[in-house]
C-alpha cells in the first residue's frame, strides 16, 4: 500500500517510464524511500534497475514521470545536479585515482585549501580520517588507493560519496567483488550511515544480503515493478518467485537432438582466485548453459577456456585429448569458437566490413599459399551471409553499420567459417532484438544437429530454459550445481545462483 503523502518521504519516484529505440526499459514504476531507510532493489539483468538509477542520478533523461526529493519536485539534466540534491551513486566500476592517496581520492572534487590556495594536506588527511573512522574503517588516509583491496577501495568510494552531505546513497551490486570479511565491514558501515539519517538504495542479487540489511524490498521484472514488501514480511521463496515468476507461454520451442560422446571436458580448472575447481563435461550435440549472477565467474570461465586468460591449474580435454590452451590460436586449432561478451570491442572489428570479419578466422583457406583469393572470400562470405540471414546491403558493408543482432551473426559466421565444433558464447543475445534472438537460437540448434556443441553463458532464465539441454549454475567462481534443463525451474536456478 503506497501512501501518497509526499512530505514524509525522502525520495519519491512516480510513474517513471523510459523507452529506448525499440525497447521499453521502464514501464510506469513508482516507489518511495523514507528517511533513514535501507531499500533493497531486486531484479534480473535487464529488469530495469540500472535504468531506474541512472534516471535518478541524472545520467539518463526523464521521459515520463516525476521525481520528488523531500517533497520538492526535481528535474535532473546532469549527474552534477543530482549530486547537488544529495543523491550519490556508487557504481560497480570504481572510478578512483589509483596512484594517489585515499585522502586525495576522497577530496578529489574539492581539495582542501587554505586562503592562499595552498593545499592543506594535514587538514585533508585529518578530515579524511574522520570520515573513515565514522564509517568504522581503519584505513589510513595516506595510503595509496592502489594498495587497497577491492573492499578498501569501495570504502573510499563511500567516503567520497558521503563527504558532502549525502541524503540518498545508491549502491549498485556493492558486494560482488568482496570477501566475506569485507561484506561484514560493509554492513557495519551501512548501519552506521542509516543511524546518521542517510537513506540507502541497495541493489543486489544476493538474497541473503537483502535479508541481512534492508528494511524494505522492491522487485522489478521485465521493466515493471512486480512487488514491494517489508523485508520482515517476506521470505526467500517469495522473493525469488517475484524476480523470475512469469508467464512462460511465449517461448522458443526446442527440437530433440541426439547426443554423442563427450567432446569437451574440464577438470579442476582454477584461475587466480576467480575460478575454483571447475569441472564439467559436454557431449556432442549438447547445448549447455552457464548461469550465474554478477561476480560468479561465468564470463571469466569462457575467457580462460578460450585461452584469452591463462589458467592457473587444471586440465582441459578436447575429444579425449588433453590440450593446453594458452592462446586463442590454440583454441582455434582445437576447433573451438568464441563469441565474446563485449561484441563491439572483442567480437567484431568495426573498422572492417562484413566479409573481412567473416573470413578473419580462416584466412588459411581463402586462397592458395600466400595469396588471398577475393573470389573465394566473396563466396565464403556470401554463403554465411545467406545462411544466417544477415541483414545488410552487402558483404562489403562496414561492420559498424550493422545492427547489434546482425553484428552478432557476423561473429557467429566467423566461427562457422572455421567449422568449429565447440562454441563458447558469452551472452550472445544480450541487447539484441527478439527476432534476431530467435535466429541465433536456431543457429545454435543447427550447429548441434551437425554434431557441434554449444556452451552458452546467459543471464536470461527464460532463454536458458527454452534453449539449453543442461544448466550449470555458478556462484563466486565455483560450480554450485548442474541441472537437466527440463527438470528444473527458473526459481530453482535463481535460488542456487543466489544461495
Amino acid at each position: 500500500m503506497i501512501e501518497q503523502n509526499n512530505s514524509n518521504y525522502l525520495l519519491e519516484m512516480k510513474n517513471i517510464t523510459k523507452n529506448f529505440p525499440g525497447v521499453k526499459a521502464l514501464a510506469d514504476i513508482s516507489f518511495y524511500l523514507k528517511r533513514g531507510e535501507i531499500l533493497g532493489l531486486l531484479g534480473e539483468n535487464g529488469a530495469g534497475k540500472s535504468t531506474l538509477i541512472k534516471i535518478l542520478s541524472g545520467d539518463y533523461s526523464l521521459e515520463e514521470g516525476e521525481i520528488f526529493i523531500e517533497g520538492e519536485k526535481k528535474v535532473f539534466s546532469s549527474p552534477h545536479e543530482s549530486i547537488a540534491s544529495g543523491v550519490r551513486v556508487i557504481y560497480q566500476e570504481l572510478n578512483s585515482f589509483d596512484s594517489l592517496t585515499v585522502a586525495e581520492n576522497i577530496f578529489a572534487d574539492n581539495i582542501i585549501q587554505n586562503r592562499l590556495g595552498i593545499v592543506n594536506w594535514k587538514k585533508m588527511n585529518q578530515k579524511a580520517k574522520e570520515i573513515l573512522r565514522n564509517l568504522g574503517s581503519q584505513i589510513s588516509p595516506e595510503e595509496y588507493v592502489e594498495n587497497l583491496s577491492v573492499g578498501g577501495k569501495q570504502i573510499v568510494e563511500i567516503a567520497k560519496a558521503i563527504r558532502r552531505k549525502a541524503k540518498i546513497l545508491v549502491m549498485d551490486e556493492p558486494t560482488s567483488a568482496l570477501t566475506e570479511k569485507d561484506v561484514e565491514n560493509l554492513y557495519a558501515i551501512i548501519r552506521k550511515l542509516k543511524s546518521d539519517g542517510v537513506s540507502i538504495i541497495y541493489i543486489s542479487h544476493r538474497i541473503e544480503e537483502i535479508f541481512e540489511i534492508t528494511d524494505r524490498v522492491v522487485v522489478l521484472r521485465d521493466s515493471k515493478k512486480v512487488g514491494e514488501k517489508a523485508t520482515s514480511d517476506t521470505n526467500r521463496a517469495e522473493l525469488v518467485h517475484m524476480i523470475v515468476g512469469r508467464d512462460l507461454s511465449e517461448q522458443y520451442k526446442r527440437k530433440e537432438i541426439k547426443k554423442g560422446g563427450v567432446i569437451f571436458e574440464v577438470k579442476d580448472l582454477n584461475y587466480l582466485d576467480r575460478l575454483k575447481e571447475i569441472s564439467f563435461s559436454v557431449r556432442e550435440g549438447e547445448i549447455v548453459a552457464f548461469f550465474g549472477l554478477l561476480g560468479s565467474g561465468t564470463h571469466t570461465l569462457f575467457s580462460v577456456l578460450f585461452g584469452d586468460k591463462k589458467k592457473t591449474s587444471g586440465a582441459v580435454f578436447v575429444e579425449g585429448k588433453k590440450v593446453d590452451i594458452n592462446h586463442p590460436a590454440t583454441a582455434k586449432l582445437n576447433r573451438m569458437g568464441y563469441i565474446p561478451y563485449d561484441r563491439k570491442e572483442e567480437g567484431i572489428a568495426l573498422g572492417l566490413n562484413v566479409k573481412q570479419n567473416i573470413t578473419s578466422t580462416n584466412l588459411g583457406k581463402i586462397g592458395r599459399g600466400f595469396m588471398l583469393d577475393k573470389k573465394i572470400e566473396n563466396s565464403h562470405a556470401k554463403n554465411w551471409f545467406g545462411k544466417l540471414n544477415i541483414k545488410a546491403p552487402s558483404i562489403d558493408t562496414p561492420a559498424k553499420s550493422l545492427s547489434g543482432g546482425n553484428q552478432q551473426k557476423v561473429v557467429v559466421a566467423k566461427w562457422l567459417e572455421k567449422n568449429s565444433k565447440i562454441f563458447l558464447m558469452s551472452e550472445p543475445t544480450r541487447g539484441i532484438d527478439i527476432g534476431s534472438k530467435a535466429e541465433i537460437y536456431e543457429i545454435a540448434e543447427n550447429l548441434c544437429t551437425q554434431g557441434a556443441s554449444v556452451l552458452i553463458v546467459s543471464g536470461e532464465l527464460p532463454e536458458i530454459l527454452s534453449v539449453s539441454d543442461r544448466v550449470i549454475v555458478m556462484k563466486d567462481g565455483r560450480i554450485v550445481k548442474e541441472f537437466i534443463t527440463k527438470n528444473t525451474s527458473q526459481e530453482e536456478l535463481m535460488h542456487f545462483a543466489t544461495a
Binding site: 584469452d308 583454441a331 565474446p340 570491442e345 572489428a349 568495426l350 573498422g351 578473419s360 553499420s401
Partner: protein
C-alpha cells in the same frame, strides 16, 4: 543504418584525392616561382632523393597500420652504413659487406620488436633509446668520421639511368609494388589490417598479434638495411650522422598519407603521396634557395596543418 556504408568508402577515396590535389597545387606553385623546378634534371634529382624516404615510409606503413611505431630507423641507417664501409675498408668483399650490414639492421629490428612486444613497452620510447645506442655505436666504429666506400657497382647503381629513369628509383618502384601487393592481395596483408582494426578481436580470432608485430619490426629493420645500401651508394660514404635527421620527414610522410599513430587504416598510396608531398616541399624550397636548415619549418608546418585537418574531420564525423 545502411546508407552510411557507401559514404565511408568514398570518404577514403576523397582523402587520397585531396592529398593528390594538394600535391599538384604544390608542384604548380613551385614551378611558377621557379621554372627550373619542373625540369627533367630537377625532377630526376628529387625522385632520386625520394628513394630513401620512400623506402622507409613504405616500411613503416604496415608496421603503423598494425599500431606499431619505430623511430630508430635513421640511426639504423647510419650505423649500418658505417658498418658496411668499415668492413669494406678492412678488405671484405662488397657482397659480404652489404649482406652483413643488412643482417645487422634486421637484427636491430628484431630486437626492437621483441622488447616492445614481450615487455609491452611504449614503442616510441624504446626505439628512441635504441636510436641513441645505434647512433653511438656508429660513431664509435667510425670514430666520428665518414668512412668512404666507393665501388664501381655502387656508383653504377647511383648514377646510371635506365630508360631515362634513375636506377635507384626502380628500387623504390619495386618496393611500392611489393608493399602494395602484400597489403592488398596477401593473407599477411589482411592480417595486418585486422590487427590494426582491433588487436583484441584479432587475438580472439586466433591471430598471434605479438608474433606478427615482431615480424613487422624485423621487416622494418630489413627495409632500413636496404635503405642504408642505397644511401651508401648515393653518397659514397658511410656517414655516422646520415640518418639523424630522417625521422621527421619519414614520419611526416606517413602521417600525412593518412596513417595515424593510432593505427588501423592506411594504404600504400596514401603513404606514397605523403612522401611525394614531403619531397616536393623539400626540393621545391631548395630550388627557390631556401636554406636547408629552414626547410624543416615548412615540413613541421605541413605536418601540423594536415594532421589538424584530419583531426577536425574525425571529430566532425564522430559527432554525426
Amino acid at each position: 543504418m545502411d546508407g552510411k556504408s557507401l559514404r565511408k568508402s568514398s570518404f577514403k577515396l576523397t582523402d587520397t584525392l585531396i592529398l593528390f590535389i594538394a600535391l599538384i597545387v604544390l608542384v604548380v606553385i613551385f614551378s611558377a616561382i621557379r621554372v627550373e623546378f619542373f625540369s627533367y634534371d630537377n625532377i630526376s634529382t628529387m625522385l632520386k632523393n625520394m628513394v630513401i624516404t620512400g623506402i622507409l615510409a613504405l616500411g613503416l606503413t604496415p608496421l603503423m597500420i598494425a599500431r606499431g611505431l619505430d623511430i630508430s630507423f635513421g640511426a639504423s641507417i647510419s650505423f649500418t652504413g658505417v658498418l658496411m664501409a668499415y668492413l669494406y675498408n678492412l678488405g671484405f668483399g662488397l657482397p659480404y659487406c652489404l649482406i652483413l650490414g643488412v643482417v645487422a639492421a634486421v637484427l636491430v629490428g628484431f630486437i626492437n620488436g621483441l622488447l616492445i612486444e614481450k615487455f609491452d613497452l611504449i614503442p616510441i620510447i624504446l626505439t628512441l633509446g635504441m636510436m641513441s645506442i645505434l647512433s653511438a655505436l656508429g660513431l664509435v666504429i667510425s670514430e666520428g668520421h665518414s668512412l668512404s666506400m666507393l665501388t664501381d657497382q655502387l656508383y653504377y647503381f647511383a648514377t646510371k639511368t635506365f630508360l631515362k629513369i634513375p636506377i635507384a628509383l626502380f628500387i623504390l618502384i619495386v618496393f611500392i609494388i611489393i608493399f602494395w601487393f602484400i597489403l592488398t592481395f596477401t593473407k599477411v596483408g589482411r592480417t595486418i589490417y585486422i590487427i590494426g582494426a582491433n588487436p583484441k578481436v584479432a587475438t580472439l580470432s586466433g591471430i598471434k598479434v605479438q608474433k606478427v608485430r615482431i615480424l613487422l619490426y624485423t621487416f622494418m629493420g630489413l627495409v632500413a638495411g636496404v635503405a642504408s645500401i642505397v644511401m651508401v651508394a648515393m653518397t659514397g660514404v658511410g656517414n655516422p650522422l646520415a640518418g639523424a635527421k630522417m625521422s621527421l620527414p619519414v614520419l611526416s610522410a606517413v602521417v600525412l598519407g593518412g596513417i595515424s599513430l593510432a593505427g588501423g587504416a592506411g594504404s600504400v598510396w596514401g603513404t606514397i603521396i605523403g612522401v611525394l608531398i614531403v619531397s616536393v616541399i623539400f626540393n621545391g624550397l631548395s630550388v627557390i634557395n631556401v636554406p636547408s636548415y629552414f626547410i624543416q619549418v615548412f615540413q613541421g608546418l605541413a605536418l601540423i596543418l594536415i594532421v589538424s585537418l584530419y583531426e577536425v574531420r574525425n571529430q566532425r564525423a564522430a559527432r554525426r
